[in-house]
């Protein structure tokens, strides 16, 4: 399905594959960082990294599959990822005073 005459497409396909392999590997690494931690912020960092890599991967795959109209998806991911990371930070910060209160509450 993918090989057009002149095989220019094949050429393109192989370079997409190379770059998507790099992206997937990096996603794996980001996941490892997310699982290893150690701090919550490391994990947020990993999540953010993972998100941007997913966006890139999706853009590449959209072209690999020859359906560039699916770029909408990559765009949506980029938006959602940003909101997600900000939300994590916001809620984590707003918890700081509350956490102290909880600790005293538990003993009482």
């Amino acid at each position: 399905m993918k090989c057009m005459p002149g095989c220019a497409h094949c050429e393109a396909t192989s370079m997409y594959i190379v770059v998507s392999l790099a992206l997937i590997t990096t996603m794996g690494i980001a996941l490892a960082r997310a699982l290893l931690g150690p701090s919550v912020y490391d994990r947020v960092l990993a999540v953010n990294m993972f998100g941007t890599k997913t966006v890139l991967l999706l853009s590449v795959i959209a072209f690999l599959y020859g359906r560039p109209d699916f770029l909408d998806l990559a765009l949506a991911y980029a938006l959602i990822n940003f909101i997600g990371v900000l939300a994590v930070l916001e809620f984590f910060r707003s918890r700081v005073p509350d956490a102290r209160e909880r600790r005293t509450g538990r003993h009482g």
Binding site: I17, S20, I24, M27, G28, L31, A34, L35, G37, V40, R43, V44, A46, V47, F50, G51, T54, L57, L58, I61, L64, Y65, D69, F70, D72, L73, L75, A76, Y77, L79, I80, N81, F82, I83, G84, L86, A87, V88, L89, E90, F91, F92, R93, S94, R95, V96, P97, D98, A99, R102
Partner: protein
């Protein structure tokens, strides 16, 4: 080659899932959920389900994360008691997993074009949609017209969840505590860079949400995704500008009206079909030309869906956030 992507992503997914279950910090578990959701969505994309991938990303990675975080900020982020019956449960689940895997052995192979799913009802949708409805996105056609009744049910499920959260948590406590809220020098709204960029980005996200809403007949997208994206952008607004501004923009009463109004609007379109001589949700009688009627019907009901989803998700978010500021 691309199948290997799938295998790789799925393996990552399983690792993430194990990480989620093992994490004792619930914040971490929720963040890993976000990653898992992105992985699942990427998988859906590879499996040729663009619409579902978009939904999973918007709902799973976006809205679900925010809701979980909202709930966590009201409860506690540490899982305390170790699981008491871990061993027994583990054995039970392993046995169950083996049974499920055993049951898969007769399944049609992955992607087999002769599998029953591809030979019975589905080809009809693919063949007849150009004739009856004439929009490119068959998923939207099935969702909006052929199985429109399910979609209406789904809108009411969302509505029910909204009602439920309002019933449990209420929306009334906001105004009292706003001054305290601004005293706490925490949160994004006191930081210049996120705030500026956020302000820059929000209109863009809203625009994109509208694009997804009205482009759903031609490309991946539709009202659920759009509703989730629009709600997410307004949640971002609330994060950056504070609850008060967000609620001034869209007061709870308006959100409630959106929740109920969208669902009612959906049903009203269906009833219009009934009054014009068709069955419930028969859009072909809406206009003289039945194909045009179907298209306009799908557009209208999708509008209803978008309004309800946006209203409900925002109501739920505010219900959590309002408790948060007490």
């Amino acid at each position: 080659m691309t199948a290997l992507f799938g295998v790789f992503l799925l393996s990552l997914l399983v690792i993430t899932a194990i990480g989620i279950v093992r994490a004792t910090n619930l914040f971490v578990a929720v963040m890993l959920m976000g990653i898992a959701s992105l992985l699942i969505a990427a998988n859906f994309f590879i499996l040729d389900a663009a619409d579902v991938a978009l939904t999973e990303a918007a709902v799973g990675a976006g809205v679900a994360t925010v809701l979980f975080l909202g709930a966590l900020s009201l409860t506690t982020s540490r899982e305390r008691a170790p699981s008491a019956n871990a061993l027994v449960s583990g054995i039970v689940t392993v046995i169950a997993a083996l049974i499920v895997i055993y049951a898969t052995f007769d399944k049609p192979q992955f992607g087999d074009p002769n599998a029953p799913v591809h030979t019975h009802v589905a080809p009809w949708y693919l063949d007849k949609t150009p004739e009856y409805i004439d929009i490119p996105n068959v998923v939207t056609a099935v969702l909006g017209s052929y199985r429109s009744y399910d979609t209406m049910g789904e809108v009411f499920v969302v509505f029910t969840a909204g009602i439920g959260v309002l019933f449990l948590l209420g929306t009334r406590r906001v105004s009292r505590s706003l001054e305290e809220e601004s005293k706490i020098n925490l949160g994004l709204r006191h930081h210049l860079i996120p705030r500026t960029i956020g302000r820059l980005v929000i209109p863009f996200i809203l625009l994109f949400g509208l694009y997804v809403q009205f482009h759903g007949e031609y490309g991946p997208g539709g009202a659920f995704q759009a509703g989730a994206i629009i709600a997410a952008s307004l949640i971002l607004y609330a994060l950056l500008e504070g609850e008060r501004h967000a609620l001034e923009l869209l007061p709870p009463q308006v959100l409630l009206f959106m929740m109920a109004g969208g669902a009612l609007f959906y049903a009203a379109v269906g009833i219009a079909g009934m009054l014009l001589g068709g069955n419930f949700l028969d859009f072909s009688v809406l206009l003289g030309d039945s194909v045009k009627g179907q298209q306009i019907g799908i557009l209208l009901v999708e509008f209803g869906v978008g309004v309800t989803v946006t209203g409900t998700l925002l109501s739920i978010y505010h219900a959590f956030a309002a408790r948060n500021t007490r």
